[in-house]
Symmetry: C2
């Protein structure tokens, strides 16, 4: 189990987008924004029906995960006040769920979180990725000292 504060768990749960990095077996990295749901233990993301340039199973993130399950993902909020930056950075492993109860549960969590998915009848046509965190870094910038 990873160690996250209740505040960091809340930050992960409310975030609308994360950035997921995978790498090919040859070590070529790939990063993509992703919608996701977090159940407190695993993160779930779906290859959804937003238009894609290639068949769903051929997407780079899916090919990379088949070759190399390691992932890095970050949830962050950018602010122009750099004293208020924060991120939660997770290293772990991603697994492609082609079928089964866990896959259905992941899709259900995604539908609960995103009304956009509830309006997509073909969500679930493509792979679902379940990410198991192994290491977490939660970082906050230090507010600059204000005037005395």
């Amino acid at each position: 189990m990873i160690d996250l504060s209740p505040d960091d768990i809340a930050f992960l749960r409310q975030a609308r987008v994360a950035h997921l990095a995978t790498a090919s077996a040859a070590g070529e990295p790939h990063v993509i924004p992703m919608c996701f749901a977090f159940d407190g233990t695993h993160l779930f993301t779906a290859i959804d029906a937003k238009p894609k340039r290639v068949p769903l199973g051929h997407l780079r993130r899916v090919r990379n995960l088949r070759e190399n399950p390691r992932v890095s993902l970050v949830v962050d909020s950018y602010e122009e006040d750099w004293g208020r930056l924060r991120y939660v950075l997770i290293a772990g492993r991603g697994e492609i769920l082609e079928e089964g109860d866990e896959r259905e549960r992941g899709l259900e969590l995604l539908r609960e979180k995103y009304s956009q998915y509830r309006a997509m009848p073909d969500l679930g046509r493509g792979p679902v990725i379940r990410i198991a965190p192994e290491r977490v870094v939660a970082w906050h910038s230090t507010p600059s000292p204000g005037p005395a």
Copy 2:
């Protein structure tokens, strides 16, 4: 040279944050949000004075680049209207500039873009990374058809 439309160039130039993925020689990916400047050909990012947990030269992104220059980075804007999503995804190579004119030029571009850097006297104490794009994908979601 990479092929970007004027609109995509403008999108890259105005973006305040990108997400940069690197990978270790062993293929472990790592993703981090980064501030950056784009001169139309290269992207520059600095290891700045925001508090870090380890010495600047030991940061994961720097260690990874020394082992493996491949990078993937994405600039995207998340919208709740999924008909308005877009991203520009760049694959390329990152080079650590320890000294020289290009490094100074990168720092100058960062100071021009971010007032926050102009207020940081110790910007430039750490490494500067110059990214040379090799492949670019610019993606827009298709707006869902509205009511007739």
